[in-house]
């Protein structure tokens, strides 16, 4: 079949992993894409610099939801250092690829992750 999305994307779209909020999140990142209006919000629970839980909420297309979902899977259990190394290409690859016009969704996921970690670091400093 010649659908635009890989099976992996469709799986994450239909069965998003870690969808929701973390009440007492240690870091929250919210980013938006002005081109297509997508909004991604990522919640992190971090213990000893390790991401022990991650959840997301996303307003957006199939690719936006799938990239959010897989990102939470990819970073859980990782240290912050490791998580920061996650590129948008790696996110897309983990999904079995994305159509060119949808690559920006993986960029958004990368940005949401970075924003959440930033937020975590800022909050830690404030404490």
């Amino acid at each position: 079949m010649a659908g635009p999305y890989s099976e992996k994307v469709m799986d994450h779209f239909m069965n998003p992993r870690n969808m929701g909020e973390i009440e007492d999140a240690d870091g929250i990142g919210e980013v938006g894409n002005p081109v297509c209006g997508d909004v991604m919000k990522l919640y992190l629970k971090i213990e000893n610099d390790v991401i022990v839980d991650a959840k997301f909420k996303t307003f957006g297309c199939g690719a936006a939801i799938a990239t959010s979902s897989i990102t939470t899977e990819l970073i859980k259990g990782k240290t912050i250092e490791e998580a920061l190394k996650l590129t948008n290409e790696a996110v897309a690859e983990a999904l079995g690829g994305l159509p060119p016009a949808k690559m920006h969704c993986s960029v958004l996921a990368e940005e949401a992750l970075k924003a959440a970690i930033e937020d975590y670091r800022k909050k830690r400093k404030e404490k």
């Binding site: 635009p4 919000k41 307003f59 199939g62 060119p100 016009a101 690559m103």
Partner: protein, 410 residues
């Protein structure tokens, strides 16, 4: 339950009776209509002339005013480029309504390269053409207006006769894209007063591969292509006989069953509208409430993106369409190819909100059960996606805090 096809704005399923009419021309009755001295050619020629009569009857034209082309895109290109070039000496200004189909709008650059100017006539929040703006823009030397009869996206019916009266006074030609309306409501070229009008076979349960351009007697046109003598020299190339035969039969059936189809569509459309209106909060219907295609229901819902809605509907067995940027040109080189529907932005829906748009366009083949199924399944989908949406989260928080209703996004 088998597939529910609510996307008749982009395709309709061919009628069985149409296929039956075509089959002989796909098998033993093959031949080139230009081979006039051969038995094969005679049969083919008779077949297309008979089809021409059927198409003409549906739109109240003379068969001599009907030119067959391969697609609505071709009809629209032939009409606009051809009429513009034929009138080049009278002026260079061409008017498009803001909500024309891509096969009209995207001609702008090419027309500019030929020395024409393009201006856009506004529509109001319901999608109706702005008569004041039209009045203003037709005062000095416009030669042609392209205005569609009904938008497949928002269903609004344009006041073609009113427009044509004004244009006649000003010697501006009127081309009307009736692709979405023909076969659903009466399309009468004389009553409408158009100079040219396009109709598509595949939108009225005929085969893909045929379309007609009505060209009022006496109106001059420059052909888009050159070649043989077919279609009075206006559209050369061996005629697609089976498709034309099927198109003719589809028109005959549409004429015969028009009232019946219209009534059914009106009823199904009303039920669908009411059903989802009462089941979904923060839903906004688009297009004019009364002046619209029967069986056409279009809307956008807040806090949810249209592509996601569309995919879920598809997964649940329902075919629909969306004006969401995300679903626009997904195979483009990058995201700059993604653009929110020009129709929704023209009627004033902010680009970041119209992402949640869905169009249901029903056809004669749809049933009440299908409508009930969609009414039952759509709210669940919206709910699932809203639960996932950070925008909805915000909205709910504000709602609880301030007691607002239908709060705005951001």
């Amino acid at each position: 339950m088998s597939r529910i096809f609510f996307d008749s704005g982009s395709f309709t399923k061919m009628d069985r009776r149409v296929l039956e009419a075509m089959l002989p021309y796909l098998t033993e009755r093959f031949g080139n209509p230009s081979s006039i001295f051969l038995k094969e050619g005679e049969i083919a020629k008779s077949a297309i002339e008979e089809a021409r009569e059927k198409v003409a009857e549906l739109i109240n034209a003379d068969p001599k005013e009907v030119i067959f082309t391969s697609s609505a895109t071709e009809s629209n290109n032939l009409a606009i480029k051809g009429l513009a070039l034929a009138r080049k000496n009278k002026g260079r200004k061409i008017l498009f309504s803001q909500i024309e189909h891509y096969s009209v709008l995207n001609q702008a650059d090419f027309l500019k390269s030929l020395g024409f100017q393009i201006e856009y006539v506004k529509v109001d929040k319901d999608g109706l053409i702005d008569m004041d703006d039209l009045d203003k823009k037709t005062r000095d030397g416009a030669i042609l207006l392209s205005l569609l009869h009904a938008s497949p996206e928002i269903g609004t019916l344009e006041p073609i006769s009113e427009v044509s009266e004004l244009l006649k006074e000003r010697d501006v030609l009127l081309f009307c894209d009736a692709v979405a309306s023909c076969g659903r409501i009466p399309v009468d070229v004389k009553e409408m007063g158009v100079d040219a009008l396009s109709v598509s076979s595949q939108m009225l349960h005929g085969p893909v591969g045929a379309s007609a351009l009505y060209l009022r007697k006496g109106v001059e046109i420059v052909p888009l292509m050159q070649g043989g003598f077919q279609e009075m020299g206006i559209r050369p190339g061996t005629e697609n006989v089976p498709a034309i035969v099927g198109f003719g039969e589809a028109c005959r059936l549409a004429k015969e069953e028009l009232e019946e189809r219209r009534k059914k569509l009106e009823k199904l459309g009303k039920r669908l509208w009411d059903g989802i209106d009462s089941a979904i909060e923060n839903i906004h219907f688009t297009g004019h409430r009364e002046k619209r295609l029967p069986g056409h229901v279009s809307f956008w819902v807040e806090y949810v993106e249209g592509e996601s809605l569309l995919i879920w509907l598809n997964l649940k067995g329902v075919a629909s369409s969306t004006g969401s940027a995300c679903a626009s040109n997904i195979f483009a080189r990058d995201e700059t190819g993604l653009r929110a529907s020009h129709v929704l932005t023209a009627i004033g829906v902010p680009p970041d909100l119209c992402h949640g748009s869905i169009t249901f366009m029903l056809s004669k083949d749809n049933t009440e059960e299908e409508v009930e199924y969609v009414i039952s399944v759509l709210p669940e989908i919206v709910d699932t996606l809203r639960k996932m949406s950070p925008l909805y989260e915000k909205h709910m928080r504000e709602k609880i805090k301030g007691g607002t209703h239908g709060g705005t996004v951001q």
